[in-house]
């Protein structure tokens, strides 16, 4: 067992973890943040996407130990305390960006990282960035549209 200290959604967290614990298991089981999901377990599908120091990663193939001293951001951090949705979440709701919802937290976290990096992405840029987030339900068009609308909103806001 080893003690790790990290920032999770803005708050300092300290826990003891066995060496073999993945960051995804840590987030879901040790922290109870079940927004990030597990599907492929090998870093291919994107449903586990969270941000590590602001950049999207696959916590299913990252050790919790590797997050020591770093900062992670999960889907649970996006809505405000009063329940107001983040513009990206709002867009996914309004424009049909999800059906069953299992890939959605990962889609939204990847989209957030994209818009943080490139606030007005072209459709090609969106497809290129988002290609690591698989979806079995929507056929992707609505996801792309939701991200485009969210980008427009954020530009209007800023």
């Amino acid at each position: 067992m080893e003690t790790i200290e990290l920032t999770v959604n803005g708050e300092r967290v300290q826990r003891d973890v066995p060496s073999y614990r993945t960051l995804l298991d840590f987030i879901r089981n040790d922290l109870g943040l079940t927004g990030a999901k597990e599907a492929c377990s090998v870093g291919v599908c994107g449903v586990c996407t969270v941000l590590l120091d602001g950049a999207p990663i696959a916590p299913c193939i990252t050790l919790a130990l590797q997050a020591h001293g770093r900062s992670i951001t999960t889907i649970e951090s996006l809505a405000s305390a009063d329940g107001t949705l983040h513009p990206i979440q709002e867009a996914f709701v309004r424009y049909g960006g999800f059906q069953c919802g299992i890939c959605t937290p990962g889609q939204i976290m990847s989209a957030k990282a994209l818009l943080d990096t490139s606030p007005r992405p072209s459709e090609e840029e969106i497809k290129d960035w988002m290609m690591g987030n698989l979806c079995r339900c929507t056929g992707y068009y609505k996801i792309i549209e939701s991200i485009q609308r969210a980008a427009e909103q954020e530009t209007v806001r800023a």
Binding site: E2, S19, Y20, G43, G46, L52, A55, L63, A113, G132
Partner: protein, 287 residues
Amino acid sequence: MREFSFHRPQSLDETFDLLERYGEDARPIAGGTALVILLKERLVQYEHLVSLRGVPGISGITVDADGLRVGGTATHRAMEVSPEVRGGWPLLTETYHHVATVRIRNSATVGGGLAHGDPNQDPPPSLIALGATVKATSRAGVRTVPVEELYRDYYDVALEPWEIVTEVVVPPVPAGNATAFIKFLPRTANDSATVSAAVNIRAANGKCEDARVGIGAAGPVPIRARKVEDALRGQDLTPAVLRDAADLAREEVDPLDDIRGSASYKRDMAAVITRRAMEQALQREQA
């Protein structure tokens, strides 16, 4: 996975202490995107993981008289977005962008990828075409290994357990050289290639002065296609010459049947993709 000790050395000296002490029971870990999968699947087991994250001086990307100097723990993402790389080695900007997805690129490192020894990866053919070398560093010193000599067999590279890749050096690309990298993959975009090819051709008045060709995903190791290169050197770069030279790729590759294609298909495609890479490089340079 079984429990293991996770070490966080803060210097190269500390790193070598650990690797020497624990030998084959230890493995360096940087991004971990390949290693953690192997550990989870129980394909490998180590009692000690040595994290390179805290070791200073081996994660930067700089340019000097020797060319591009990439620290072993620089990420694929850093390569993809680096203005220095785009300015002098745009082939590498394009190549590193092709790797997997942005999530993997944020974690996976240049040195870690090479040390992993997977012949299906995207960077090796381009690094070979650009004449890149690897600095394999231990307490005893630094060995300089051309990328094409690093690979011995599937997942088997010429690195001792007490060595780490501290740097990859890519010489300057002479102005006017024609370069291209083509990743041929009939399946999803974040997969490994069925076959990939990278070329670096220097020509004057339509005649080839020098050529370097790297081919990936077509055998147990990424290869430098010397027969193809020899067939180009000194020749006028006509379509027939390109086609005949690229055909020699068939003799240089040693592919396996797998889900990305049969061995015979990959052999055929090695010739096709090598020729297309040459054509694309020469067209871009003329433009």
